[in-house]
């Protein structure tokens, strides 16, 4: 209402009508989080951000779903489940691997190509009673989105959230690595992703980078030549990236081993991997964000918004 209009209403003696209190209070959505909700979590507590990057079909969402499924069965990787703001999001990516889906073969919903990066949240606590809570944000980058970033430095720079990543997991598709026709492309895809990240200064000095060979069961099933190619790939990556990435590690996992291989109960190396991805790397002597461009004005405004929100909603325990 304009001032003039308000003045006119008062002159006529009409009182402003008090806005009725809504009958319902909104609760958090439980869906996979957008940047704003993720920001709120990072402002509430020191949050560990793990980003999964890899070509399409390399197993990013499968790894996320497998971590959640293991927690559904009990403590996992030394952690107890203490909460999540994205339970519905997790459940949705697990759906195609559930009996209730009506499906026959386990499957995973592909990461959707969206403008905004999505985050899955977990609050975890170590198994020992005195352990503190840890907030973890997990994000899978759409294969297609990453393809765009891979081809263009500009697109890579759009993915600014990566600068905050404590751990970047680059997945190398084990299934493609086991296929002689596709193995060189699989190797090149993963290397290109890392190059793009480094070129765009996305890897901070304290950022842990794990090159993970996924779908290890497929490599094992393909026999010795595939295993040897994997080892050579690892050596090649080590030579190429070790000097530029201080916290580089290699890992092999099978997040969802094929039932036909009789490895359903196998952990597939996921627990050890997850424990490592969520380990806080000791800060270097320099500031964590040194060498990384300062946030843009928009980002700073965004952070202020998050802080104000936090101040309004934080608990008084």
């Amino acid at each position: 209402m304009t001032d003039a209009a308000a003045g006119s209403a008062n002159e006529e003696g009409t009182k402003p009508v008090a806005e009725a209190e809504p009958a319902f209070i909104d609760l958090f959505s439980g869906a996979v989080l957008g940047a704003t909700d993720a920001e709120v979590i990072t402002l509430r507590s020191r949050t560990h951000l793990v980003v999964f990057a890899g070509a399409e079909g390399s197993g990013k969402t499968t790894v996320l779903a497998a971590i959640y499924e293991r927690l559904n069965q009990g403590p996992f990787a030394g952690f107890r489940f203490a909460g999540s703001r994205s339970l519905l999001g997790f459940e949705e990516i697990c759906h195609l691997n559930r009996l209730a889906s009506g499906g026959v073969q386990p499957d995973t919903q592909r990461t959707r190509l969206t403008e905004e990066t999505k985050y899955y949240h977990l609050t975890l606590r170590g198994e020992e009673p005195s352990a503190a809570r840890r907030d973890i944000l997990l994000s899978a980058m759409s294969g297609e989105l990453f393809r765009m970033a891979k081809d263009s430095k500009e697109d890579a720079e759009r993915l600014t959230f990566l600068r905050r990543a404590d751990t970047i997991v680059v997945l190398v598709d084990g299934e493609r690595l086991a296929n002689t026709l596709q193995r060189t492309s699989a190797q090149a895809d993963a290397a290109d992703i890392l190059e793009s990240l480094l070129d765009a200064n996305m890897v901070g000095p304290n950022c842990q980078v794990d090159l993970v060979f996924s779908k290890l069961d497929r490599i094992t099933a393909a026999g010795k030549p595939a295993e040897e190619f994997l080892s050579k790939t690892q050596e090649k990556f080590d030579k190429r990236f070790r000097a530029r990435i201080p916290h580089l590690a290699f890992r092999r996992i099978a997040a969802r081993p094929a039932p036909s291989l009789g490895q359903e109960d196998s952990d597939g190396g996921l627990a050890e991997a997850f424990a490592s991805w969520t380990t806080i790397v000791s800060p270097a002597t320099q500031d964590e964000h040194q060498g990384v461009p300062a946030p843009s004005c928009d980002e700073r405004e965004f952070s202020k918004f998050g802080w104000r929100y936090f101040e309004r909603t934080r608990r008084h325990s």
């Binding site: 209190e21 809504p22 009958a23 319902f24 209070i25 909104d26 609760l27 958090f28 959505s29 439980g30 499924e69 927690l71 559904n72 069965q73 009990g74 403590p75 107890r80 489940f81 203490a82 909460g83 999540s84 339970l87 519905l88 459940e91 949705e92 697990c94 759906h95 691997n97 559930r98 009996l99 209730a100 889906s101 009506g102 499906g103 026959v104 073969q105 386990p106 975890l124 606590r125 009673p129 809570r133 969802r256 039932p259 359903e264 608990r315 008084h316 325990s317």
Partner: protein, 284 residues
């Protein structure tokens, strides 16, 4: 007016909230058994409570609360170490909690109950929906019958689109507790009540049951011990399967209907249905 206390019963539809209330009212008005809490004077809501309890006494299904008839009952109680107090318990429809999960909103009235609650009883029926993984289902099929495995694996099944209704029970209950923690600024005392306990009491203690069958909920409660103080009860309020005519007849023929009630906490078993309430209201 005596000291007021407020309990909040939460749980999904059919989890046993109203049946518990019916059995509780029978025990309090019967006054013949030794219980932690006793009634000092009749409740003003006795017409409503008598209606529920009539069904319970006849071993009929206690009618589920619907969204239109949320009823707050006030019980006038005392007990050793408690003194006299007025206990308010809203009999809320399980459907309302289901709607919280799908619509992601809570009515202001429910929010008020949450803010004022001295303690919370979280009800769950032991027939839990588990969210079984396909790989596990296939393995179980193979173990049960090798010959049927191929048939089952290739059977034409209709694919279902995901919806929040499909959430496993343990996820729904964790989410309901997260809603409570979101809305409250104080530490919460929660008595988890596994209803129809007679169906699963051979599996161990109530605590064992939650740990084995609902591991996510079990972890959530344990790892938030600074925010939630909890214990687990197994409560058999009906005493058996009243949909089975033979069992129903056996229950009706008992000389004392109190014998139908069984309450277990850890290794201790009794017929005192006021125990979970006494635990929630007790001074630590």
């Amino acid at each position: 007016m005596n000291n007021p206390a407020n309990l909040l019963f939460i749980g999904l539809p059919g989890s046993g909230k109203t049946t518990f209330l019916a059995a509780l009212w029978h025990v309090l008005s019967d006054r013949s058994s030794a219980t932690r809490l006793r009634q000092t004077k009749p409740s003003r809501e006795r017409t409503y409570l008598n209606q529920l309890t009539k069904e319970w006494r006849e071993c009929s299904q206690v009618p589920r609360t619907n969204l239109q008839n949320d009823q707050v009952v006030v019980l006038h109680l005392d007990g050793e170490g408690f003194g006299a107090f007025d206990l308010s318990i809203p009999d809320l429809a399980g459907e309302a909690f289901k709607q919280q999960l799908t619509d992601r909103r809570m009515s202001r009235q429910h929010d008020l109950f949450v803010q004022e609650a001295t303690g919370v009883m979280l009800f769950l029926h032991p027939d839990v929906q588990k969210g079984m993984q396909l790989t596990v289902a296939r393995r179980l099929e193979a173990e049960l019958s090798g010959s049927q495995k191929e048939e089952s694996a290739t059977a034409s099944t209709e694919e279902n689109t995901w919806s929040p209704d499909m959430l496993p029970t343990q996820v729904k209950l964790v989410e309901l507790l997260q809603f409570l923690l979101e809305r409250r600024q104080r530490r919460l005392r929660v008595a988890v009540v596994v209803s129809a306990w007679d169906l699963v009491d051979q599996l161990g203690t109530p605590h064992d049951f939650v740990s084995k069958e609902l591991p996510l909920l079990h972890q959530f409660l344990g790892s938030n011990d600074d925010l939630i103080e909890h214990t687990v009860f197994g409560v058999s309020a009906q005493g058996g399967d009243i949909t089975d005519e033979k069992q129903k007849q056996t229950l009706l023929e008992l000389d004392d209907a109190l014998e139908r009630i069984k309450v277990q906490q850890d290794q201790q078993t009794s017929q005192d249905i006021t125990k979970p309430i006494a635990w929630l209201l007790g001074v630590r």
